[in-house]
């Protein structure tokens, strides 16, 4: 398929992100926080898609890289005079090192990519159930270490005093970087090779593709994007290690599964739609007005709605709502272009 025909695959998700950002600029600052959160989730889900969507291997471990990115960006940007107060056990070189906003995000992405590469070196030999459980183990280990090791971060406490540099533009640009990187990877020879291993591992291997290497590359790229998302996230909210674990894994996987893990549009659309629903019900725990109706729901409703939605989609449409298809220009217009 020519690149021109595949362009809607990039532009539609990118426009969805931009549209969300523009809408976010129009609303009150209280509502805007939900839009910011949604844009960060888009970045995380697209990072997940780069690996899960292209390789067809499940990973419960990506939130580890989000957490590592958040820890990197957070610990390097807390103002020097507040560091020892918030993080009394911090290692010396981390106390002395301080960087700016953009550098911290780049480092977050770098740490995410390197961590994913190192974790992937042994783990990418696994697939199916074993991969699911091993990546789950990675999530548990990361969470355990970040919760208790006070030399690299705030431990059990929230990451307070990180400069709140993530406004609507920083969040939008991060989400767009993830979308563009995901498209560039998908259409590159490496992305196509990995796609081939997903469709038919034996045929791909017979054609000379190393399944292990292609998966490792995708894992490292998606780890880097996850790290970037984590960096942006910590500049938005005072995160806690406990918040970057099972719950976030579940929510982001639900977004990917509902949207359809096989496509970029599914990842972005799923993240927007599901986070919209999720934010609505989360906000409704403190009463929302819907066309004059006062709606109040108990805490936990958002997760229940999400759980039911995810189970229904898995049972009725395992390829997700996008059905595993990307938007492409019809064949005729492609011919006209030639």
């Amino acid at each position: 398929m020519s690149l021109v025909r595949r362009l809607p695959e990039l532009f539609v998700p990118a426009l969805l992100v931009l549209g969300t950002a523009l809408l976010g600029l129009e609303v009150s600052s209280y509502l805007q926080s939900y839009f910011l959160d949604t844009l960060v989730k888009v970045a995380i889900v697209v990072a997940l898609y780069v690996f899960i969507g292209n390789s067809g291997v499940i990973s419960f471990g990506h939130i580890s890289f989000v957490a590592l990115g958040a820890w990197t960006a957070g610990v390097l940007t807390v103002p020097a005079d507040q560091k020892t107060a918030i993080m009394p056990g911090l290692a010396h070189f981390l106390i002395r090192t301080n960087v700016g906003n953009i550098t911290s995000l780049a480092l977050a992405a770098g740490v995410g990519a390197v961590a994913a590469f190192l974790v992937g070196l042994p783990l990418m030999r696994l697939s199916g159930l074993a991969a699911g459980i091993a990546t789950f183990a990675v999530l548990e280990i990361t969470n355990n270490v970040l919760t208790f090791d006070q030399s690299i971060g705030p431990g059990l406490n929230a990451f307070s005093s990180v400069p709140q540099t993530t406004g609507i533009w920083q969040a939008t640009i991060a989400a767009l970087i993830c979308v563009v990187a995901a498209f560039a990877y998908r259409t590159s020879r490496f992305g196509r090779m990995l796609g081939a291993t997903r469709e038919d591992p034996a045929a791909a291997a017979a054609a000379g593709i190393s399944i292990y290497r292609q998966r490792l590359l995708a894992f490292a790229i998606s780890g880097g994007l996850a790290g970037l998302a984590g960096g942006v996230y910590v500049h938005l909210l005072p995160l806690q290690a406990g918040g970057l674990s099972l719950n976030l894994t579940f929510i982001t996987l639900a977004m990917l599964v509902v949207g359809g893990s096989g496509t970029l549009l599914g990842a972005v659309g799923g993240a927007l739609a599901v986070n919209g629903i999720y934010s609505f019900f989360s906000a409704a725990t403190n009463t929302v007005d819907v066309f004059g109706w006062h709606l109040t729901v108990p805490q936990g409703t958002a997760e229940i709605v999400l759980g039911v939605l995810m189970a229904l989609v898995l049972i009725a449409r395992p390829a997700g709502l996008s059905g595993g298809r990307e938007l492409t220009l019809p064949r005729r217009s492609a011919r006209a272009a030639e």
Binding site: I133, A202, V257, P298
Partner: protein, 302 residues
């Protein structure tokens, strides 16, 4: 005494055996369902949680203890069958990874329903708290529940072994967990075998719920969750698809975490989870069929 050499006291040792026993039951519960359905049930912990809430209601309504326990068994069993009917059966033909994600979703769903229904502080199931008191055995004080748990686990596992080796249902279950297709072709009834595994697995979840509620009687939506995560690690360590390796895996991880949790200083024992899961990864890489399985691993063919 070897125990003295290892710097262990009898109560800590008994504590290790207690957790070993409870975790072994949970491990077999997860392993039996995996054997016939090739499904790792992340939602197993939520079955235990449901059992815990049943006990709490039993205590609140002032039911006699044996009625509370029966109620707990009934709740866990019904929930387990409903879960099988509504979620696992429609997904039976899908890949293990899809089923894993689905049980993950069910686990979260049930946990949040419990949060919604019972609030963040949950309910108290105090009827069995007296079992935390010790019995004096030859000058050593050992908690009653430790002894009860060890004996119950041994009896249950013995009965399961009889079921698996001496009855036709057990034979069918073992055949199905080796090769479901072939077993079906040879006349094993799929529905019966799956129902058998689901029921036994639910019974063990209910027993685990009763015993875990003794020490941890404040039942919240996360009751049994951390235990289940550790047991999942143990089942993978031991070997998923046969009952005895799964039991050994569950027992060893429970025993190890009981002993290490009791002897290590807290600045080391807090990293216990990391070591357990690092061990899981190493085992998955080196011996994907588990530590306690011998040869005969199936080779995947095209």
């Amino acid at each position: 005494m070897t125990l003295a050499l290892l710097n262990l006291s009898w109560p800590v040792f008994a504590n290790g055996l207690e957790f070993g026993g409870i975790y072994a039951l949970m491990a077999v519960g997860i392993g039996l369902v995996f054997g016939v359905l090739r499904l790792v049930n992340f939602a197993y912990g939520q079955l235990i949680m449901a059992g815990g809430f049943a006990l709490a209601y039993g205590a609140q309504w002032g039911l006699p203890n044996w009625v509370s326990i029966l109620f707990c068994f009934a709740v866990v069993l019904v929930l387990s069958l409903v879960m099988d009917r509504l979620v696992f059966r429609p997904l039976r033909t899908h890949s293990p990874a899809v089923m894993l994600v689905a049980t993950f979703a069910v686990a979260f769903l049930l946990q949040n329903i419990a949060l919604l229904a019972f609030g963040a502080y949950g309910k108290t199931a105090g009827a069995f708290a007296y079992l935390n008191a010790p019995w004096d055995i030859g000058g050593v004080e050992i908690r009653k529940i430790a002894i009860i748990a060890i004996v119950t686990a041994a009896v249950c596992l013995g009965l399961l072994q009889v079921l698996l080796t001496r009855t036709s249902l057990g034979l069918h279950m073992r055949a199905a967990s080796m090769d479901f297709r072939t077993a079906q072709l040879l006349g094993v009834r799929a529905g019966r075998v799956i129902a058998g595994a689901v029921v036994v697995s639910a019974l063990f979840a209910a027993i685990a719920a009763v015993m875990l509620s003794v020490a941890d009687f404040q039942i919240t939506s996360t009751f049994g969750l951390s235990d289940t995560i550790i047991v999942l690690a143990g089942v993978v360590l031991g070997g998923l698809n046969r009952p005895i390796p799964a039991t050994l895996g569950g027992f060893s991880i429970g025993f190890a975490s009981g002993i290490l949790g009791g002897t290590l200083p807290s600045n080391q024992s807090q990293y216990l989870a990391s070591f357990l899961f690092a061990a899981v990864i190493v085992v998955l890489l080196l011996r994907p069929d588990g530590l306690f399985t011998r040869g005969g691993a199936s080779v995947e063919r095209l």
